[in-house]
Symmetry: C2
Subunit: 354 residues, 2 copies
DNA sequence: TACTGTTTTGTAATCGATTGCACCAAAATA
DNA sequence: TATTTTGGTGCAATCGATTACAAAACAGTA
């Protein structure tokens, strides 16, 4: 039924009794080809159902027209949204996007980097895993002269551009909002402080307290990971003691979710007795029975800008690689019921889901 | 700093004063090469940091060692879990996985198919979009002699293997469970019946009623899409009338979530007055304040099996393509509080999140 | 007509690895 | 010693497209 054999420019050249070089030039709209031949070639290509062999092209040019993206998990809304943004920008330029998951494991990360370099991708976008300390495997990308762009979670490597959000500002905004709602004893669930993002959120939190002359209470700073359980446990501990907090700023939406669940079990009124703000604006925050305030990281924009930085980088080869670009996006505070004692709630437009 | 130039087998051959053919054979452990030469080549390859050029290999062999996966959305837990399963099986075989999102749009789907075929992937896995009716763009894959595997959402195309779950059985199990909990007036939220999966779930629902001698009441069958809002609206309508249902089986977890939210607003007690079962076992179902029962589709297994079917297919070229394989997996009913009037609740192990 | 200058097309090398065939040397056999 | 066998290598073509350079073909001019 279907023709197994692939049509090449040689098939076209034979049929027309011209050389393959001419065919190639005609197909590429090379101005040195006469209009007559070009049309003839084009028509014949169509007839024979010719498709350019990207592999041959890639071998010749050294460009594969595909890029790799390495993220911890693809089923986290934040990351999949960043990928959406990258795709949106790069697909029109003919790029294929190869997506890899590190599962927060530096070894997987290193393996994926090797595989991508081996595939000769034209660039790599990555958000480093939580267990990545040492960066030798990442530097391999640079040794290979492959463009690298960090997004959200980065490492400080000279010459590597990055697109992040201003986590300090996010932490500051969330905290200030709680203060404005009347909070005076704000607990903070901070993530692993070895990661820049959590450190910055924590610093933003501290600065906001300072700026509003609220003393810092170390007992209210709890180190949690990003699990629901961690948030629930933290609340359980805090409420077991005296001097309970009157607000919580969690650097993770999931820990905040756990906190809210535990608070409701304890019959604590939200937001009247305790206001809660999370971080990331995961979709579920909007659909909770008690919708949760959170910091939006504008992930789609982040992906789009990362893609733009990449395109700029490959188009400006004259510039030395060591001139990196660091884009820092502004986070947005989304106020919902969990922290809002007034009546004016923001509307939540429908989202398509299955 | 880093050497820009890529090391080829010719560099090795020059250094050792032997032919590139010998180098190639040595690297591939061809038995016709003497042990001495092989070791010498291996050592030199290591020293020069030789990396095989996959493009050249791909051009020569016609195999790119990458496969494409087309899903509606990657940030839906079901699909990302299937992808996890595919990766888990295929990565050890040296495959790269290229992931594409159709966003439920047949046109995107067609574009991605073209791009993947153009990249000459060794196979395509897909779950068709809801708006795909006509299959000419899918048949292009077959005309190109590229292996194609459907998972979850398939089309009936001769010669194409598929891995799905037994949606009929899932619908039946959910319904029977509600009946066993004492329900007699069960409402069903069914999706677009043009899609096999929803039709089958619906049929399973109907059959379970029949088998238990419960009359079918068309007023209780509501056509919803998979949005939270749709579920809430459906409940609002049902509760506006008399003869309200005493249970709901939704073919979508999201619609079920909306239903539960609306029921709680109406102060309806769950599961005492109304039991609810969803479909897909999305992670959030476990973490709701009132955890929701659902049908698990074992997506990781689905991905793994799809990958195995693919591997079998490319290894058995002697068999005619028209012998397709159709794997149907058994769904699992996960009973949680939303439908369980007894006390024995299942434990919910922690899940890693951010 | 002869010559110069443009267009247009062809030749052949190139990207890097693989592989059928031919060939040479050393070892085994007669 | 002559001859066959065998193990190990090299030559050259191949995968498909691109492109520097060379060579036609053509038009224009004296």
């Amino acid at each position: 039924m279907a023709k197994n054999e692939k049509v090449t420019i040689y098939d076209i050249s034979k049929k027309l009794n011209i050389s393959a070089a001419t065919v190639s030039r005609a197909l590429n709209n090379n101005p040195k080809i006469s209009e007559k031949t070009r049309e003839l070639v084009m028509k014949t290509a169509q007839e024979l159902n010719y498709k350019q062999n990207r592999l041959a092209l890639a071998l010749k040019s050294g460009k594969t027209n595909s890029i790799g993206v390495i993220v911890p998990y693809i089923n986290r809304n934040f990351f999949s949204a960043v990928i959406d943004g990258i795709e949106k920008q790069l697909t029109p330029h003919g790029y294929n996007v190869i997506i890899c998951q590190s599962h927060e494991d530096a070894i997987n990360e290193a393996n994926h980097i090797n595989a991508l370099l081996n595939t000769q991708v034209d660039g790599i976008f990555m958000s480093v895993s939580k267990t990545t300390h040492d960066t030798v495997h990442i530097e391999k990308i640079l040794e290979n002269n492959t463009p690298l762009i960090f997004f959200d979670r980065k490492k400080d490597i000279p010459g590597v551009s990055s697109v992040t959000i201003d986590d300090f500002r996010g932490g500051y905004m969330a905290t200030e909002h709680l203060i404005q709602q009347g909070a005076q004893r704000i607990a903070h669930f901070c993530g692993d402080l070895n990661l820049e993002i959590y450190k910055n959120r924590n610093n933003g939190f501290l600065r906001a307290l300072e700026d509003h002359n609220i003393p810092i209470n170390k007992n209210l700073i709890i180190h949690t990971n990003s699990r629901i359980e961690a948030g629930a446990e933290a609340v359980a501990k805090l409420w077991a003691k005296k001097n309970r907090p009157d607000a919580i700023f969690s650097s993770s939406d999931y820990a905040a979710l756990g906190a809210i669940q535990e608070l409701r079990k304890l019959k604590v009124k939200i937001p009247e007795e305790v206001g809660v703000v999370g971080f990331s604006n995961e979709p579920f925050t909007k659909y909770m029975e008690l919708p949760m305030s959170s910091i939006d990281q504008t992930p789609v924009t982040m992906g789009e800008i990362a893609a733009q930085v990449f395109l700029e980088q490959i188009n400006n080869k004259q510039h030395v690689l060591s001139v990196e670009k660091r884009v820092v996006l502004a986070p947005e505070l989304v106020i919902r019921k969990s922290s809002n004692k007034t009546k004016s709630l923001k509307g939540t437009p429908p989202v398509s889901t299955e």
